[in-house]
């Protein structure tokens, strides 16, 4: 039985008359891979935003490895080991792909040297054992970005921007990674190649991953557990095979025909 590393206990969040989260209770086991599904406005992104520090829940407690992270700002949560990618890739647009990664590892270098002014870009980052540039190039290769490394991110195609966004999040070697709609905007042919590659890297690193997704095939193929959101509540929390047969999930989120298609695909595969 895996260790529980993240617990969200009794989270509630409202924006005026809109309830974005209601009585959310979730335990996340180390090494698991969880899909978060739900219609737009169901509360998936609010959930992610609360855990990663962008929003503060009205009530409730979030604990990570025994530490209460409920009121911490995003950067402290990142430093503790929870990182996220974004639905719309958040990149440093005037810099190249390589530089984007250099900044990411550079931030870690600064943290390890306690922000000393004399920190050198050429020095080895103690806990990573390599220099910033070496780590950045390593990431470029790992994520298949070699041909884009010296191009300004402004001009990169959407799928590449998504991968870079995720690569940057992974640079912090997070214990838990949240992916916000990793395949949205990515073409059908590229979708699975991209997810195969990313999930492999994540698995090799031993990172626990939760991803928000609308594409049920992606959810089916990569998750071992599904959390279904509806009107701020979690209406199903189970293995995808079971969750995607749940009445309410079918009624509010997936739809019979899509579920059948996805389940059939899986049993064929």
């Amino acid at each position: 039985m895996s260790k529980i590393i993240l617990t969200a206990h009794n989270l509630n969040k409202s924006f005026g008359a809109v309830t974005a989260a209601s009585e959310i209770n979730v335990d996340v086991a180390e090494g698991s891979c969880i899909g978060l599904i739900g219609t737009n406005g169901a509360g998936k992104t609010t959930f992610v935003n609360m855990i990663t520090g962008y929003l503060k829940p009205d009530t409730g407690v979030i604990t990570f490895n025994g530490v209460d992270i409920t009121s911490l700002p995003p950067r402290k949560i990142t430093q503790l080991g929870i990182c996220r990618s974004f639905q719309i890739p958040q990149l440093y647009n005037t810099m190249t792909a390589l530089e984007n990664l250099e900044v990411s590892f550079g931030i870690i270098a600064l943290q390890e040297s306690k922000g000393a002014l004399t920190t050198s870009s050429k020095a080895i980052i103690p806990s990573y054992g390599k220099t910033i540039r070496e780590l950045a190039l390593e990431s470029i290769e790992k994520y298949g970005l070699l041909q884009y490394k010296d191009q300004a991110t402004k001009i990169l195609p959407g799928g590449v921007r998504k991968v870079l966004d995720i690569a940057m999040a992974m640079s912090t070697r997070p214990k838990i990674l949240f992916l916000d709609e990793p395949t949205s905007g990515v073409s059908a042919e590229e979708k699975f190649d991209m997810m195969d590659m990313i999930m492999q890297v994540i698995r090799d690193a031993g990172t626990t991953v939760l991803f928000v997704e609308h594409d049920m095939e992606v959810v089916m193929r990569y998750s071992q557990r599904v959390l279904a959101f509806y009107e701020g509540k979690i209406i199903a929390d189970d293995h995808p095979d079971i969750a995607l047969k749940d009445d309410r999930v079918l009624k509010y989120i997936v739809g019979h025909s899509q579920a059948q298609h996805v389940l059939a695909e899986k049993s064929d595969a």
Partner: protein, 298 residues
Amino acid sequence: MSNLLIVLIDGINYAAWLFISAVGLTLIYGVMRVLNVAHASFYAFGCYVAVTLAGFWFSHNYPPHLSFFALFGASFVAGFIVGWILERFLLRYQYAKDEVVILLITYAVFLILDDVLKLIWGVDPYYASDPYELLGNFSVGEMIYPNYYLLMVGAALILGLGLTYMLKMTRSGKLLVSVIHDREISSAMGINVGRFFSLTFSFGCALAAIAGGITTPTISVVPGLGVDVIVLSFAVVVTGGLGSLPGTALAAIIMGVVRSFCVHYVPQLELFVIFSVMALVLVFRPRGLFSLAEARKI
């Protein structure tokens, strides 16, 4: 408590002046997101036009009581025309640039216009106190005040209420509010954003000029008088919230009254009290008293 009344009357008068001089700035920013440093030059331009016309008017013995219309009208028209030219031939091509860059461009224009005014009118001071004296005085208790105070307050009220009416009640006003909120969507809806920009900028400059014109009878017109005005206008507009008309009014009143208190009781603090109010407000409300809403980023 006649002391209090004295302070209040002076305060309201100064507040009226602050409002009149700042309102053009906030209007232009609200609609176009342009912080027009050249506002100072238009104010000065309005002063010079008014003072020149006053000299002409009174030396030709035209009816003195019509001088106000002539002075203010001339300032307004002159400011409108020059503002229109500036927008049409320079500013129009810069809207895609960053807010701060546009600000630097208007700063450059201010530097240029300030010297142009010197070239045209020279460096000697001009006076036009006739309209001021014309109106006589009124008294409150033992204190005598110039009726020009009333004109100033009246002008501020007309300006404030007039603009508010225009924005809320007229069709063009409502279209303008739409442009203020989102120029891209307004454009997609068929609103001629370019024409609104042109008119707003010209109008804003005209307001700066008429503010100058209204102030002229109370001061001596010398080179560089825009320099002090612009920082005060900035302070009022930023404190009130960039682009907010009620904000500018409220900020003007607060600053006018606070400054008046300082002048009467602690004269040493006078000059910096306005900026202290601005700094204080920004500490508690980083975007000013009333601010335009901001969209979610992620």
